[in-house]
């Protein structure tokens, strides 16, 4: 309001200084007019988004599968400075809000994105900024962890997009009907992903009597970490019993990532890629969306063998904070020119067991911008 008043006063002073005989009220309405127009545009975009979401939901209920169809909007997105936009958005949402304004802003956010404010851990006034509110914790007991020792639990709140078993050559995950991406590209070329090449198949048949768990512990990661090499992802097949699950988090969801099981994280990889949106439309129109976007991958071992979590950023939620490695910085100014450059990799305690995480423990958080 003070800014608006200052602009109004300045325009009036300027008009009188210039001896302008024109009506100063024309200038007075310029700023509010622009603000109203911006709000209307944002409202229209939000309504359009809700309409699109509803159509997608209806289509999904009818069993209609969307096909991959690159369009001009996806091409246009590539030209936008999405990283700068994301960082600017992060700066704006980090601005400390007056205490009286906080509940109004957070309630508006919750209404727009269907967040449940009843489970928020602290009073709304305690969150100084929208960014802080976004990574809010929940009240004790809001997310009970399934006690069954023979189950794997969801690491996040969200919508299940895809799941299944990895089969066939190339270890591919379907992005949408008509387009798939390789798991090795998602996790990194030096991934510990248990794949079987032709040579491995012969070797493995002679080791059938061995202890699988011991083998998991010793061969995969020692081999991969001691002498990382790029595997032939086309001819390699995933080992049996390898599964995947893709979960999308909408802006209103609780954005902390928890551990899906008791496991030891051995490696962290940070890919500094693009920051395309990852909504339904983007998955249908941008090739290799998850492989191109900035992401943090954690890999390790659990009682079943291999496990990896890839946390993939987007334009609005660009940075990822790792609780097990707080010093890791993501969504930084671009230093690498090519996206094909190898990721930043860190091995947790090469000779030890890595970082031990309990089922349900907080692992990471997605930040606004």
């Amino acid at each position: 309001t003070s800014l608006l008043k200052r602009v109004q006063t300045a325009s009036q002073v300027r008009a009188s200084f210039n001896g302008s005989s024109g009506n100063p009220r024309g200038n007075i309405f310029l700023v509010p007019g622009a603000t109203v127009a911006t709000l209307l545009m944002l409202g229209a975009l939000h309504a359009r988004r809700l309409y699109d979401d509803k159509k997608v939901e209806e289509a999904r209920e009818k069993g209609i599968e969307f096909e991959f169809q690159p369009d001009h909007k996806a091409s246009f997105l590539r030209m936008l400075p999405l990283r700068s936009i994301s960082r600017l958005f992060g700066s704006l949402t980090s601005v400390e809000l007056p205490v009286w304004m906080r509940p109004h802003v957070y309630r508006a956010w919750a209404r727009a994105f269907h967040s449940n404010l009843e489970e928020v851990a602290l009073p709304l006034e305690n969150y100084a900024s929208l960014r802080e509110f976004f990574v809010r914790t929940l009240k004790e007991g809001s997310r009970p962890i399934d006690p069954d020792p023979h189950c794997l639990v969801s690491p996040v709140d969200g919508t299940v997009l895809r799941f299944g078993e990895l089969k066939g050559s190339g270890t591919m995950i379907e992005q949408v009907k008509g387009f798939s991406y390789s798991v090795s590209s998602l996790l990194g070329a030096s991934s510990l992903l248990p794949v079987i090449t032709e040579g491995d198949m012969h070797k493995e048949s002679s080791e059938q009597q061995g202890n699988l768990k011991e083998k998991n512990k010793k061969s995969w990661w020692r081999f991969s970490l001691a002498s990382p090499k790029i595997r032939d992802t086309v001819s390699a097949c995933p080992a049996k019993g390898l599964y995947y699950c893709v979960i999308y988090l909408s802006p209103g969801d609780y954005h902390l990532i928890h551990s899906p099981a008791d496991w030891n994280v051995l490696v962290r990889r940070h890919f500094s890629g693009h920051l395309f949106p990852v909504n339904e439309r983007a998955t249908r129109t941008i090739r290799n969306l998850y492989v191109q976007n900035e992401r943090v991958v954690l890999e390790g071992l659990w009682e079943g063998g291999f496990m990896a979590i890839a946390a993939i950023g987007a334009t609005n939620i660009g940075s990822i904070k790792l609780f097990i490695e707080p010093e890791l910085q993501t969504n930084q100014r671009r230093q690498k020119i090519l996206n094909s450059e190898p990721p930043d990799e860190r091995v947790y305690e090469l000779e030890g067991v890595g970082k031990t995480l309990k089922k349900g423990a907080e692992v990471a958080a997605f930040n606004l911008g």
Binding site: R60, E61, R143, I145, D146, D148, H150, C151, L152, V153, S154, P155, V156, D157, G158, T159, V160, L161, F163, E165, L166, I173, L187, L193, P194, Q208, Q209, L212, A239, K240, G241, L242, Y243, Y244, C245, V246, I247, L249, Y254, I257, H258, P260, A261, V278, Y290, W302, E303, G304, G305, F306, M307, A308, I309, A310, A311, I312, A314, I317, G360, F366
Partner: protein
Amino acid sequence: STVVLVFQAPTLKMLQNRDSSSEFRFSIRRGDRVRVGEALGRWHD
């Protein structure tokens, strides 16, 4: 934002019968809303 979980399910049965698949079964469907701590799938001991 999106999270992709890749994991190998416990497959002790595979040691005896290499053609058998894992005992792991997903307990979710596409489009389901899931929350932290809810089971994605189970396996038998």
